[in-house]
């Protein structure tokens, strides 16, 4: 799809480099739009899900069952005064929310939403995703330090420690996946799981024979590890220590108001979908439909990408829902327990898993 656009633009502008740059800029527009709409929806969903889990109704006044509530909230947030205290480190304080948001946005460009649309079809896809999520750490650290508030500092240090630690099991599982699929390109990973659902990663991938059945339990373990560690990386309950309300007030975003706070907010919810997307790509066939496409059946070609988009988003949303479910059920772990879970359990299991999967693939 990109190539197609590039060709059109080259014809129009007469400069290939310029056209290519413009294409990449343009291809982030639908992603940005997706993130904003997704967050508007997810915030509403979170409030509704939590409300119904807690015997409440949640927002009911703005629009049908409060669907427009988040839009109203968003307008309110934009109107708010952007408070910058005297003692803040102004430069870092202002950059931090944008850095966090941009890093998250950039990771989204690497996700294959359908077979014809990927923001940037990089060959090192998953590697870049992991690298870019490091930008989030830098942003959070900057936010905490620049706020000049002890609670913010505690929150950001916890966040940094947490994200860096959980990067390790994530990376180990990703390494396992790279071994299984033989590629780092997320589009190719998805392609490897085409057609029916028994080709999905969680069921041992597309390879036939005994190896597939041997792989199933280890893929499942890998899935659990990846789920826990990415959940921790996105700072969601039960791992929401960086902004644990009852201890640190609001953690690293205590001092932020208005639009900058909403950027953190956007990034957090976008991250929730990112977890879901990564899990879906590696284990649940990415954008592939579990039982063939309706478009192919009736011979309408353009319907296939639409269906793929539907499957990708709904699978991703399922994991978003699961993380909301967890958030409203579980208490929060303590900071040392968090590290224990990572270093004493997840990392050894991930290593072990890597070894076994490697052996299976060799044999």
């Amino acid at each position: 799809m990109q190539n197609y656009f590039t060709e059109i633009l080259t014809d129009l502008l007469g400069n290939e480099l310029l056209a290519e740059i413009l294409t990449y800029v343009l291809s982030t527009v639908p992603i940005l739009a997706f993130i904003v709409f997704f967050v508007l929806f997810a915030v509403w969903l979170e409030r509704k899900v939590s409300a119904h889990m807690q015997d409440r109704l949640g927002p009911m006044r703005v629009g049908w069952h409060g669907v427009l509530q988040t839009i109203a909230d968003f307008i309110k947030l934009i109107q708010k005064e952007d408070i910058i205290a005297d003692a803040n480190d102004k430069a870092l304080f202002n950059i931090a929310p944008f850095l966090v948001f941009v890093s998250t946005l950039a990771t989204f460009t690497l996700l294959p939403f359908t077979s014809i649309f990927v923001g940037s079809n990089a060959d090192v896809g998953i590697f870049l995703v992991l690298a870019l999520s490091g930008g989030v750490v830098a942003g959070i650290l900057m936010a905490g330090w620049a706020s000049n508030n002890k609670y913010s500092l505690y929150g950001s240090l916890r966040a940094a420690a947490q994200i860096v630690s959980y990067e390790i099991p994530t990376a180990l599982v990703v390494l396992t996946m790279i071994m299984v699929y033989g590629t780092m390109n997320l589009g190719d990973v998805t392609e490897a799981q085409t057609s029916y659902f028994w080709n999905w990663g969680i069921f041992g991938g597309a390879g036939l024979g005994l190896g597939k059945f041997l792989l199933v339990p280890f893929m499942f373990v890998a899935f659990i590890i990846l789920f826990i560690s990415t959940l921790a990386e996105s700072n969601r309950t039960p791992f929401d220590l960086p902004e644990s309300e009852s201890e640190l007030v609001a953690g690293f975003n205590t001092e932020y108001s208005g639009i900058k706070f909403s950027l953190f907010f956007l990034a957090e919810f976008a991250n929730m979908f990112l977890i879901g997307a990564i899990l879906v790509i590696f284990f649940f066939g990415g954008y592939n439909s579990p039982f063939g496409y309706f478009g192919n059946l009736i011979g309408v070609d353009w319907l296939v990408p639409v269906e793929q988009l539907f499957w990708f988003i709904s699978k991703g949303m399922f994991f978003v829902f699961v993380s909301m479910w967890l958030r409203w059920t579980l208490p929060r772990v303590r900071v040392d327990q968090l590290m224990t879970i990572c270093w004493k359990y997840l990392i050894p299991y991930a290593f072990f898993n890597l070894l076994i999967v490697g052996l299976i693939l060799l044999v």
Partner: protein
């Protein structure tokens, strides 16, 4: 590093300032600063007549206002040697136990909230709402009742009260099981509370902990049994104590679980009392001017948060010379410094939550 937690902080249960001396996340010293809610209640009492003090007691532990009334009127009645009618005693006990349940529900819910579990909090508040409805029907107020008066009650109970209370008991029993499944035996919850804030029995007595906090340390001491007042000696109930179910005796989980078990026992007391309420008047023969003889009295009751004592000195006039309130939360909070040393910041929040303090009572 010194970290000021409060006076505006989500988990200090009101306006409390904790000065934490930290090394990384480890707490070296905790110094509570109180008095932000000081409303000079004891000074006010000195210019009030005895019955006028009752509404002031409501505002101390605003989560258990019935029991504050209960303690105060008990003290004045002891001082004046008034015998209240049997019916009044039964209603007082039922109201007191309902209030204990309501207060414990808030304690359990906010404790969960302090540990990041939001949902149990709302479940428990939903049930507490039903108790408040019962109170509202009887005396018109949901939080500050001014219901128990010297020598009687402000109103008789509502005609539907008995039926609705029984309905409530039937409804409420299963929700305790729900709470246990959702929170009490949750693995993360246990990890967060077991072996945290351990208070050995000897130390607990010395620090003056009372009520569920003392029983959490494994000491079977309950004023309803050990120093019976009103008609508590007529009822059959047990005193749950902390047994170190998941950690060592006297940890946060024990203090929490004792409250869960106490809710069950309170239901038992209400069940026994509700069927035996005798007929009669709800006001004793109290002189128009309440004028106790010269002297002093210390009357203590087992309030939901611990031993609530009223020390009243009378000089024979219509105003008390001195009303001192021994507030259970006041003493519990003074123990925090000892108990929180060496734990992490997150544990201080847990220990504070498990002590179940109410700042209205501490600052008076």
């Amino acid at each position: 590093m010194i970290l000021n937690m409060g006076p505006q902080h989500p988990s200090t249960h009101g306006v409390l300032r904790l000065e934490l001396v930290l090394d990384g996340e480890v707490v070296h010293d905790v110094k509570p600063h109180i008095g932000y809610l000081h409303r000079c209640m004891e000074k006010h009492c000195e210019v009030m007549t005895y019955p006028q003090v009752v509404p002031y007691t409501d505002r101390m532990d605003y989560l258990a206002a019935m029991y504050n009334n209960f303690g105060y009127v008990g003290a004045v009645e002891k001082l004046m040697d008034i015998q209240v009618p049997e019916r009044v005693e039964y209603i007082r006990v039922i109201m007191g136990e309902l209030q204990r349940i309501a207060s414990h529900l808030v304690a359990l819910g906010t404790f969960g909230l302090d540990l990041g579990a939001f949902t149990p909090f709302l479940y428990l508040f939903r049930d507490r709402e039903k108790i408040l409805d019962l109170f509202e029907e009887t005396c018109g107020a949901r939080l500050l009742y001014n219901y128990m008066w010297v020598g009687g009650l402000s109103h008789d109970i509502h005609p539907d009260f008995v039926r609705k209370t029984k309905e409530f008991i039937d409804y409420f029993r299963p929700t305790i099981v729900e709470l246990n499944n959702l929170l009490t035996f949750n693995k993360i919850f246990i990890e967060r509370t077991a072996n945290i804030g351990v208070c050995p029995p000897k130390e607990a007595i010395n620090l003056g902990l009372t009520g569920p906090n003392l029983r959490g340390s494994g000491i079977k001491f309950d004023l309803r049994k050990d120093d019976p007042y009103s008609i508590y000696d007529k009822f059959d109930f047990e005193i749950p104590v902390g047994e170190g179910g998941v950690g060592s005796v006297g940890d946060c989980w024990d203090r929490y679980y004792v409250r869960v078990l106490e809710v069950e026992q309170s239901l038992r007391i209400i069940e026994q009392a509700i069927d035996q309420i005798p007929d009669g008047d709800v006001k004793a023969e109290v002189p128009r001017r309440v004028k106790p003889p010269k002297g002093s009295v210390y009357h203590r009751v087992e309030a939901p948060k611990g031993e609530l004592g009223y020390f009243i000195v009378s000089d024979g006039t219509v105003n008390p010379t001195r009303v001192k309130v021994r507030a259970p939360s006041f003493v519990s909070l003074s123990a925090l410094g000892q108990m929180a040393k060496g734990y992490l910041v997150a544990d201080v929040v847990a220990i504070l939550g498990s002590l179940d303090i109410v700042l209205g009572e501490i600052d008076r």
